[in-house]
C-alpha cells in the first residue's frame, strides 16, 4: 500500500497538558474507579443503617475533634494545591518546588489527625457491622491520602532533580494536584457519613 501524505504534524508540541494529555485522562478514569469505590462504601453504609434497629449499633457517635481538624486541614490544603497547579502550568520551577514541599506537609499532617480518628470512632472494626463499615471507610480514605502523599514526595524529589524542568513533570504536578482535589472532595461525603449521619 502506498502512503499519500496529507498532513504534517511536525509543528505540534511534544507533550500536551490537561485534556491533551493521556495521563490527565487516565487520572480521570482512576478517579472514576475510586469514586465508584467510595460511592459503594457509602451505599453499603446506608444499606446497613437501613437494616439496623438503631444506628450507630452499640456505640456512641464518633468524637468530633480529630475528624473536624482533619477536615479543616484538607479543605485548607485546596488553596495551596490550586496554586501549585497554577504555577506548574506557568512552569515556574522555584514556586512549584516550594509548593510541593507545602503540599507534602499537607499530606503528612492530616495523617497525624487520622491516627486519632480511629479511636474516636468509639467502636472496633470487629464489634459489629457498623464498626466494620466505618473502619473500612476511614481505612479506604487513609490509603488514598497515603498514596497521594507518596506520589507528592516522589514528585518533589523529581522536581529537585535534573529531570525537574520539563513540561512532562509540570503535567505530572498538575495531575497530582487534580488527584489531591479528588481525595479532599471525596472526603466530604465520607465525613458527613461518619460523623454526622449517626447524630441525625
Amino acid at each position: 500500500m502506498k502512503d499519500l501524505v496529507v498532513l504534517d504534524v511536525s509543528k505540534l508540541p511534544l507533550h500536551g497538558t490537561g485534556m491533551a494529555s493521556p495521563t490527565w485522562w487516565a487520572t480521570c478514569t482512576f478517579m472514576l474507579i475510586e469514586g465508584m469505590g467510595f460511592g459503594l462504601a457509602i451505599a453499603v453504609y446506608f444499606y446497613l443503617m437501613s437494616l439496623a434497629p438503631q444506628w450507630p449499633i452499640g456505640a456512641p457517635p464518633p468524637d468530633l475533634f480529630a475528624g473536624a481538624c482533619l477536615t479543616v486541614l484538607l479543605v485548607a490544603s485546596i488553596i495551596p494545591n490550586i496554586l501549585v497547579s497554577r504555577w506548574a502550568r506557568r512552569r515556574e520551577l522555584k514556586k512549584v518546588k516550594i509548593g510541593l514541599l507545602i503540599m507534602s506537609f499537607f499530606g503528612i499532617v492530616p495523617l497525624v489527625f487520622r491516627i486519632f480518628e480511629f479511636p474516636a470512632l468509639n467502636v472496633s472494626w470487629d464489634d459489629n457491622a457498623y464498626g466494620s463499615i466505618v473502619w473500612t471507610i476511614l481505612g479506604l480514605h487513609t490509603t488514598h491520602i497515603l498514596t497521594d502523599l507518596v506520589d507528592t514526595l516522589v514528585l518533589t524529589a523529581l522536581m529537585f532533580s535534573r529531570h525537574g524542568d520539563n513540561t512532562r513533570r509540570y503535567g505530572d504536578v498538575e495531575d497530582n494536584c487534580l488527584y489531591w482535589n479528588f481525595v479532599v472532595i471525596a472526603w466530604l461525603p465520607l465525613y458527613g457519613c461518619l460523623y454526622w449521619v449517626p447524630r441525625l
Binding site: 502506498k2 499519500l4 508540541p13 511534544l14 472494626w125 464498626g131 463499615i133
Partner: protein, 636 residues
C-alpha cells in the same frame, strides 16, 4: 537526513524502506529473556494474554468434562463431593475471570490500537503489568486446585457459606484474592482502552467514524470501570470478615447475607455484558466482510451498545428473584430485566438487515456468526423467560439456568470469539487458518453445543437443581444426563479441532498477506503481522471506512520523530491532532511491580500486616517504573 543538524530525526523526506528500518530500530523489543519480559508492545502482550486465556479455556473445558462424567449416571462415585464442589467452582471462576473477561480485553488490547491507527496502546507498561498480574492470579488459582485447596463455594461465593464459620481454611481467601488479581488487571486494560480510544485515534476519526468494534470495547471498558469496584469491595470485605473478624456479612452483628449478593451481582450482571458487548463488536465488524456490503445501522448499533451498557447496571436484582423481594417491586424488576431485550433485538435486526442486503460468502467466520445468531437468540429468549419473576421462581438455580447462560455465553460470546480468531488470526500471525478444519470445528461445536445444552432446559423444568454432585436413581433425570454427557464429547472434539487448527496454522499455515478478507478497517492497512510500530505513517481518516480495499493508497500524516517512540494525540470528538506524545519504552519494572503486588496480595491472605510491609516493595517498583531515565521519550 539533512535535518539532523537542525533537530531530531523526523520521518519526513525518508523513503519507505529507510523509514521502516529506523522505526523498527526504535520500536523493536530487545532479544533475549529479559527483553521478552520487558516487552511493552501491545500486540505481543495481547497475544500472550489471548494465548493464556485460551489455555485457561481448555483447562476449564476439561473440568466440565469431569463434571459430565460424574453426572452421567445417578449416584456415581467417580468424583468425591468435595472435589466436585471445587471443580464446579473452578469451572465458573476460571471461565468468567480467567477466560471470558481477559480474552475480550486482550482482543481489545490487540485490535483497538490498530483499528484507531496508532502505534501502541496508551500506557503500554501498565498493559504489561496487567498481563503479569493476570497470569500470576490464574496460576495461583490453578496451583490451589492442584494442591486440593481450590475454592469450593461456587464462583458466586455466597455468604455465610463462604464466611469464616462455614468455610474454614484458606480456600475461599484464595478465591477472593484471585478476584483482586483479575480485577486489577481488567481495570488496568480498561483504562488503557478508554484513553487509547479517547486520545490516540487517527486524525479525522471523529466519534461517528469509530469502528463498531472500538465502540463496543469502549463501552465494555466503561462497564469494567464502573462494575469491578463492586466485586473488589465485596471480595475485600469478605477477606476482612474472614481474616480480621469484621462483621459485614454476619446477621448476628448487624451484617447481612444479602449485602454480598447485592455487591456481587452489581458487578455480576454487567459482567455478562462485559463479555457480550465485545462479541457484538466482533460480529458487526466481521459480518460486512463476508456479505460484501457495509454494516446496516451503524448509529442504531452504537446507540444499542451504549443503552445495553447503561441498562446492565439496573438489572442486578435479576439474580435475586427468590431471596424474598418486596412484592410491589416484582413487576418493576420483571419489566426492567426484560427491557434489555430491546437493544439486544436492535442488534439482531441490524445484522439480519446486513445479511439481507448482502451476498454471503460461507467462510468459517461467517459460519460461526450464523451459528451465533441462531444460538444467541435462543439464549436471549430464555433470558426473557428468567427475567419474569414468577417464571424464574421455578427455574432459578436449576439446569434451565445452566442451559440459558451457556447459550448466552458460548452462543453469544464464544461463537463470535472463534469467528474473530479465524478472522484476525491472519493479522496476528501472518498465516491463514485452515478452512477445512474450520468447517469441521464449526459443525462439531455447533451440533455438540446444542445436543449438550438444549436438554438441560428440560432437566431444569423437571426439577434438577444446579450444583449437585449427583442425583438419585429414582428421579427421571438419568437418561437425559447420560445423553448430555455423551454430547459434551462432541462439543469437546470441536474445540480440540479448533485448537489443533490454531497451533498447526500458527506454525505452517499459508501466508495471509496484508488484507486477506478485503476488509476496510485500519488494521488491514498494515502488514500481517504488523510491525512493532504498527503503521509506517499514522493514517488519516476521512470516512467511516478508512480505506477501500480496492484502493492502493492510504492517506497518512508525517512529522513524527523516528528516534523515539512517538504517537499522535488527537482531540476527543473530532480527532484533530493536538500533540506528539511519546510512548513508553520497554521496561522490566512492570514485571517487578507485578511480582511485588502479587507477594503483597498473597501474603495478605495470611496476615493483615502484609498490606503494610508488602506495600514498600510495590512503592519501590513503581518509583523505578516512573522515574525518568533521561531517554528521548522523556523530552518535551
Amino acid at each position: 537526513m539533512q535535518e539532523e543538524q537542525s533537530g531530531p530525526p523526523m520521518d519526513t523526506d525518508l523513503d519507505d524502506r529507510e523509514l521502516e528500518s529506523r522505526l523498527a530500530k526504535t520500536w523493536s523489543t530487545r532479544p533475549g529473556f529479559w527483553g521478552k519480559i520487558a516487552c511493552v508492545d501491545h500486540k505481543v502482550v495481547a497475544r500472550r494474554y489471548i494465548f493464556t486465556a485460551f489455555v485457561f479455556l481448555m483447562l476449564g473445558g476439561l473440568l466440565s468434562l469431569a463434571m459430565r462424567l460424574q453426572l452421567s449416571q445417578p449416584e456415581a462415585r467417580f468424583i468425591s463431593p468435595d472435589r466436585y464442589n471445587q471443580i464446579f467452582t473452578m469451572h465458573g471462576t476460571n471461565m468468567m475471570f480467567l477466560f471470558a473477561v481477559p480474552v475480550m480485553e486482550a482482543m481489545a488490547a490487540y485490535l483497538v490500537p490498530l483499528m484507531v491507527g496508532t502505534r501502541n496502546i496508551a500506557f503500554p507498561r501498565l498493559n504489561a503489568f496487567s498481563y503479569w498480574i493476570f497470569l500470576i492470579g490464574g496460576l495461583l488459582l490453578w496451583l490451589a486446585f492442584a494442591l486440593d485447596a481450590a475454592p469450593d463455594v461456587g464462583w458466586f461465593a455466597y455468604v455465610p457459606l463462604s464466611g469464616p464459620q462455614y468455610s474454614p481454611g484458606k480456600r475461599t481467601d484464595l478465591w477472593a484474592q484471585m478476584i483482586t488479581f483479575t480485577e486489577l488487571s481488567a481495570l488496568a486494560v480498561a483504562v488503557e482502552v478508554v484513553v487509547t480510544v479517547f486520545k490516540q485515534r487517527a486524525p479525522g476519526m471523529s466519534l461517528d467514524r469509530i469502528p463498531v468494534l472500538v465502540w463496543a470495547m469502549l463501552v465494555m471498558s466503561f462497564l469494567v470501570i464502573l462494575a469491578m469496584p463492586a466485586i473488589m469491595f465485596g471480595s475485600s470485605t469478605l477477606i476482612l470478615d474472614r481474616l480480621v473478624g469484621t462483621q459485614f456479612y454476619n446477621p448476628a452483628e448487624g451484617g447481612d447475607a444479602l449485602l454480598w449478593q447485592h455487591l456481587f451481582w452489581f458487578f455480576g450482571h454487567p459482567e455478562v455484558y462485559i463479555v457480550f458487548l465485545p462479541a457484538v463488536g466482533m460480529v458487526s465488524t466481521i459480518l460486512p466482510a463476508f456479505v460484501g456490503r457495509p454494516l446496516y445501522g451503524y448509529m442504531l448499533l452504537v446507540m444499542a451498545l451504549i443503552t445495553t451498557g447503561i441498562l446492565s447496571f439496573g438489572l442486578w436484582v435479576h439474580h435475586m428473584f427468590t431471596v424474598g423481594l418486596p412484592r410491589l417491586g416484582e413487576s418493576f424488576f420483571t419489566a426492567s430485566s426484560m427491557a434489555i431485550a430491546v437493544p439486544a433485538g436492535i442488534q439482531i435486526f441490524c445484522w439480519l438487515a446486513t445479511l439481507w442486503a448482502g451476498k454471503p460468502v460461507y467462510k468459517t467466520p461467517l459460519l460461526f456468526i450464523l451459528g451465533f445468531i441462531f444460538t444467541f437468540v435462543m439464549g436471549g429468549m430464555t433470558g426473557v423467560m428468567v427475567a419474569s419473576v414468577p417464571f424464574d421462581t421455578q427455574v432459578h438455580d436449576t439446569y434451565f439456568v445452566v442451559a440459558h447462560f451457556h447459550y448466552v455465553l458460548i452462543g453469544g460470546a464464544v461463537f463470535p470469539l472463534i469467528a474473530a480468531i479465524y478472522y484476525w488470526f491472519p493479522k496476528m500471525t501472518g498465516r491463514m487458518m485452515s478452512e477445512r478444519l474450520g468447517r469441521w470445528s464449526f459443525w462439531l461445536i455447533f451440533i455438540g453445543f446444542h445436543l449438550t445444552f438444549f436438554p438441560m432446559h428440560i432437566l431444569g423444568l423437571w426439577g434438577m437443581p444446579r450444583r449437585v454432585y449427583t442425583y438419585q436413581p429414582e428421579l427421571p433425570w438419568a437418561s437425559l444426563n447420560l445423553f448430555v454427557s455423551l454430547s459434551s464429547l462432541i462439543l469437546a472434539s470441536g474445540f480440540l479441532i479448533f485448537f489443533i487448527d490454531a497451533i498447526k496454522s500458527w506454525r505452517s499455515g499459508p501466508p495471509a498477506g496484508a488484507n486477506p478478507w478485503n476488509a476496510s478497517t485500519l488494521e488491514w492497512a498494515t502488514s500481517s503481522p504488523p510491525p512493532p510500530y504498527n503503521f509506517r505513517r499514522i493514517p488519516v481518516v476521512s470516512a467511516r471506512d478508512p480505506f477501500s480495499p480496492g484502493n492502493d493508497e492510504l492517506t497518512v500524516a508525517t512529522g513524527l520523530r523516528t528516534d523515539r517512540r512517538e504517537v499522535l494525540v488527537t482531540t476527543i470528538v473530532e480527532a484533530l491532532p493536538e500533540a506528539r506524545e511519546s510512548s513508553a519504552t520497554d521496561s522490566v519494572w512492570p514485571f517487578w511491580a507485578a511480582i511485588a503486588t502479587s507477594i503483597m496480595l498473597i501474603w495478605s491472605i495470611f496476615s493483615p500486616w502484609a498490606v503494610v510491609w508488602g506495600s514498600i516493595p510495590i512503592a519501590v517498583a513503581l518509583i523505578g517504573w516512573f522515574w525518568p531515565k533521561g531517554e528521548a521519550e522523556d523530552e518535551s
